[in-house]
């Protein structure tokens, strides 16, 4: 896919990246990335392990320098005004960035002190975040005793102490149990409601689908596709309903009866009927088969998800 130049930075553009390149030695990690993220939206960078997602976050969050290309965050140039960029961003990395030898409350106070909030404001902010992330009870315990989910929550709470306008979340739910994952998703949704821009990396397609306004697929250092979750799903073969029958004659009868019978599989005794998966459509198909005395042995509905997009586009 041809890379589009990002739109000129406007008041509503939170992140604008052009031609970003990075190699580690001989290994080319990012090969000319262009992207734009609008303020108050969630942007998901999706890709398999080793695609360059973390490198992208490390560059945009001023941790490491790119070899080439331009990037502006909150209107500030990454190369010439990194200090300004740092004032606007917050980062929760893949590896827990909490201080194990401090308590949860002390970690938050440390952040507040480094942002020069002042005693009273620091205390208030710390208390508020502990409450919001359900950590009040554990506030006085050393982080070394925290569970993985609690660490992740504390990590994000620390990122929010400064009320950043742009937040980077590098694989925020990797290794979390399903319940903690849902909690994390809700927190991200709440953030964008307040106008915060979220740049998220994930290898979970469901996560991108759940959270993102825009998704870009990163593979081997280039963006191979981008769009809304809906747009990406439209790029691949549509959904279908697979009907299995008891024998070949029933299969043939079903084929004759249905308006759009789709592809038959004589071996498996199945029909793949193109459908959107909606209930009225399914009811129509089943009623028609029933009216003609055709028994369906088994029915499975397959709607396209981002896994299909990913598999189709990366070809593996």
């Amino acid at each position: 896919m041809a890379s589009r130049a990002p739109q000129a930075a406007t008041a509503t553009t939170a992140i604008a990246v052009t031609g970003l390149r990075k190699s580690f030695g001989e290994h080319l990690v990012l090969d000319g990335i262009d992207l734009t993220v609008q303020q108050g939206t969630v942007f998901a960078l999706l890709g398999p392990n080793g695609a360059g997602k973390t490198t992208m976050v490390q560059i945009l969050s001023t941790l490491i320098r790119a070899d080439g290309g331009q990037a502006a965050l909150a209107g500030y140039d990454l190369n010439t005004e990194p200090a300004r960029v740092r004032e606007a961003i917050g980062v929760t990395g893949q590896y827990s960035a909490v201080d194990e030898l401090l308590t949860g409350a002390e970690n938050l106070m440390l952040m507040a002190d480094l942002y020069h909030l002042g005693r009273a404001a620091a205390k208030a902010r710390t208390g508020e975040l502990l409450g919001r992330f359900d950590l009040t009870e554990a506030a006085g315990k050393l982080v070394a005793t925290y569970s993985g989910g609690m660490r992740r929550k504390l990590d994000l709470a620390m990122t929010l102490v400064s009320e950043p306008r742009i937040i980077f979340l590098d694989e925020p739910t990797t290794g979390l149990d399903p319940r903690s994952r849902r909690t994390m998703w809700q927190i991200v949704r709440d953030l964008t409601r307040g106008g915060v821009t979220v740049f998220l990396t994930t290898q979970y397609l469901e996560e991108a689908d759940q959270l993102a306004d825009q998704i870009a697929l990163l593979d081997h250092g280039t963006l191979i596709a981008r769009g809304t979750p809906e747009e990406l799903k439209r790029r691949i073969p549509g959904g279908h309903t697979r009907l299995r029958f008891a024998d070949a004659s029933t299969l043939a009868k079903a084929q004759a009866v249905l308006a759009r019978p789709g592809k038959p599989d004589e071996e498996a005794l199945t029909l793949e009927v193109p459908t959107s998966g909606s209930v009225p459509e399914l009811r129509g198909i089943l009623t028609r088969l029933d009216d003609h005395g055709v028994d369906v042995a088994e029915l499975t509905v397959h709607t396209p998800d981002l896994d299909d997009v990913f598999l189709t586009l990366t070809g593996n």
Partner: protein, 259 residues
């Protein structure tokens, strides 16, 4: 900018002091090592090396205490290099690097802790030395001058340890990096007079940085000529501190993620 560097350094120092209190095995190690050498020299070797009898033991304890204090500084250097390296390999430094804070504070916090830790170690080891018979024979002003020089030299060695901790790729490597320094008080005036050494070793002993420090402290605490030792000790401290600071700053400003 300057005020934020000071405020951020103070914040980082508070963080590092909390670490020190919550991980006391570091301090225990840096006190036990020199105390072990002190007891070994005074009670096992002291009878032979020093003048005979109980008075001889005490005199030898008095003679080697400046060398034992120098060993304490080396042990403290290991502690500092280890805590810097383990901090750098943890995730929180990556967070600090993406925050709008004075970057030098990530190092000065460790330097402050290192100096305080070294001073605590030197005080504890000196207290044990007093129990084994060490006696200073000079004035309070001399004590203060000796303390001042020791703190200055500890400051220089702490910057060196911070740089060594940054240069190390792993915590294990960092814990080994300052170990060669342990030989310096021995290949100097710490335990015997340099005049008694073979020529080549004597030359090294007289020109390495620990010797003028030990000689000056010995002169201040138990009397005797100091000569130009004090000036040389201060010059070495300044040179080590400046060189190590520049090296540490260069190491720290490299990209933390490399090929």
């Amino acid at each position: 900018m300057m005020t934020s560097a000071l405020a951020d350094s103070a914040t980082m120092l508070r963080r590092n002091l909390k670490h020190m209190l919550r991980y006391p095995s570091m301090i225990a190690f840096m006190i036990l090592m020199p105390v072990g050498f002190l007891l070994l020299f005074v009670y096992i070797l002291g009878g032979t090396v020093g003048p005979a009898g109980h008075a001889g033991r005490a005199a030898y304890a008095t003679f080697i205490t400046p060398g034992i204090i120098a060993l304490t500084m080396v042990a403290a250097s290991t502690a500092t290099a280890v805590s810097v390296a383990s901090d750098m390999t943890g995730g929180i430094i990556a967070r600090f690097r993406t925050m709008p804070i004075a970057r030098v504070s990530m190092l000065t916090g460790h330097v402050g802790r290192g100096v305080i830790q070294t001073v605590l170690g030197m005080v504890a080891v000196t207290a044990v030395a007093l129990l084994t018979g060490f006696r200073a024979t000079t004035s309070a002003a001399s004590w203060l001058a000796a303390a001042g020089l020791l703190i200055l030299f500890a400051f220089a060695l702490t910057w060196l340890s911070v740089a060594l901790g940054l240069a190390a790729k792993t915590v294990e490597a960092a814990s080994n990096a300052p170990t060669p320094l342990i030989i310096l008080p021995f290949l100097g005036s710490g335990f015997v007079l340099t005049q008694s050494m073979p020529t080549a070793i004597r030359w090294f002993a007289e020109y390495q940085p620990f010797t003028p420090v030990i000689n000056t402290v010995r002169g201040l605490l138990i009397g005797g000529p100091i000569g130009n030792n004090a000036v040389i000790a201060i010059a070495w401290s300044a040179a080590i501190a400046l060189g190590s600071y520049l090296w540490a700053r260069k190491l720290f400003s490299r990209d933390p993620v490399r090929a």
